[in-house]
Each structure stands twice: as C-alpha cells, then as structure tokens.
C-alpha cells in the first residue's frame, strides 16, 4: 500500500496530476448541474422543465 502511494518516489507528482484532473472534471460537472438547476427553478422555463 505504501509503495502504491509512493509511486516509486513520484507520488507527489502523480497524485497531484490526478487530483487536479478530477477536480476539474468534478468542478465542471458541479457547475453544469448548478446552472441547470437554476434554470429549472425559473418559472418562465416551462419547456426546459418538461424536457429534463
């Protein structure tokens, strides 16, 4: 387990790369959902609510 985390001495670089990549993916997804929810809440958007 320790060797897996250590990644042959490159652990900091490897894990930081994956953390940043998936932080971006999760951040973009969260922002997209947040905006979609905001639009759903808008009463003027009946069509949007019907479709989603």
């Amino acid at each position: 387990m320790t060797s897996f985390i250590d990644m042959g001495g490159y652990g900091l670089y490897v894990w930081l790369s994956y953390a940043l990549s998936f932080a971006f993916v999760i951040g973009a997804a969260a922002h997209t959902w947040q905006r979609a929810r905001k639009h759903k809440k808008n009463k003027g958007l009946k069509e949007y609510t019907e479709q989603t």
Binding site: F4, Y13, V14, Y18, L20, V25, A36, H39, Y48
Partner: protein, 243 residues
Amino acid sequence: MTGLFDSLANPTRFRTVSAVIRPFCFWAAAIFFIFGLYLALLASPPDYQQGDAVRIMYVHVPAAWLGLSSYLGLGLCALFYVVWRHPLANIAARAIAPIGAGFTALTLITGSLWGYPIWGTWWVWDARLTSMLVLLFFFIGYIALETGFERPERGARMASILALVGVLNLPIVKFSVDWWNTLHQPASILRSGGMAIDVSMLWPLFTMFAGFQLFFIWVVLHRMHWMLSERRRVAGKARAKAM
C-alpha cells in the same frame, strides 16, 4: 455532413436529441473513468526509464487531445457562425470554449508536474509547450471577446474571427515536435511508421481518453441546453417588454 448539420441545427430538434444522448454520455464516462483509473494506476506497468511517473501520461495526453480537438470544434462552430450566422453554432462555441480552456490549462499543469521529475524543470520555452500556451491564450481571448461587447452579436462575430485565426495554431502544436528541436518527446501514437507505445500502456490511455471525451460531450451538450433556454427566456422577456 451539411444535411446532418441542417437537421441538428434546429434548436428544438437539438434539445430532443441531446436529452437522449446526455445520460448515456454521463454514465459511459463514469464507467470509463473507473475502469481507466484501475488500468492507469494499478494494471499498467511502470516505464523502464521513467518508472511510475509515466502514469501522469494517462491524464496529460487525453487532456492535450481534448484541448486540441475542442479548439478544432470551436473553429468549426466559428466558421458556421461567421459564414451562415447560425445562432446554434455560436452557442456551441460558447459552450466549448471554457471547457476546452480548462483541458488546455490541465495539459500545461500536468505537463509541468511530469516535466519536473523527468526533465528537471517545470517549464521550457520549447515549441510544443509554447504553442500549447498560445492555444490557451486563444481560448481565453475567445471568451474575453465573446463577453466583452455591449452588443452580443458583435462580440460573437469578433470572437469567431479570432477563433478562426487560432485554428492556424493547431498544426503548429501537432507538428512542433517534428519541425523544431524540442525537449518534449516526438509523437508516439499519430505518427508515420506506426505507434511507438506498448499495448499495455495504450489501453489505459485510450480508456481514459474515452472517459474524458464522453465527459466533454456531456458537459458541452448540457451547457448548450441551458444556454438555449436562457436565450429563449431573454427573447421572451424582450418580446413581452415590446408589447
């Protein structure tokens, strides 16, 4: 191609088609990510020279491919908008730009994190790195122009022209490693003479790329969906005011 574009360019039809595609893309991306992470972090072997640092490749290379392909998409949308003035093309470009910029920034950051332990430096002004940075500036320029005008149509037109100019940078990014001496390694996959990467590293790479690609499609379609709704709401308000 034109027929397909014409049929999908209708906003109502687009929304119907995208509502079907989006859940598929989301769940497929999640599956590819889980499987890809397993392959990239556990199943694939370390490199004989770089050791485990090579695992950065499985996020760095897909991010770079997406940065480039999303800019190509942005350029095509800009072309459709400049030539045919189709509003859906502009909405697609607006949806693509920040996500493409994010993937390009991610390419530069993960590249630095890979470069430091292997090259001994975070950054060099070599042709590949510099042209990728220029690509990021084109994305930022597009976003700034698109949102920087009082009249949105004018901003969209200016931004589209800038996006078209930026397309010239794409072959420079791709062939920079062949045209100039660079610290960055030459192409390993899309090159004459076949792929120069072992299949044990190719599968994790393609699996992670599939995950990122499907995620990209999901986000862009979702963004286009609410941008269309927003546009319709604003148009409705303007019509109500006029009456």
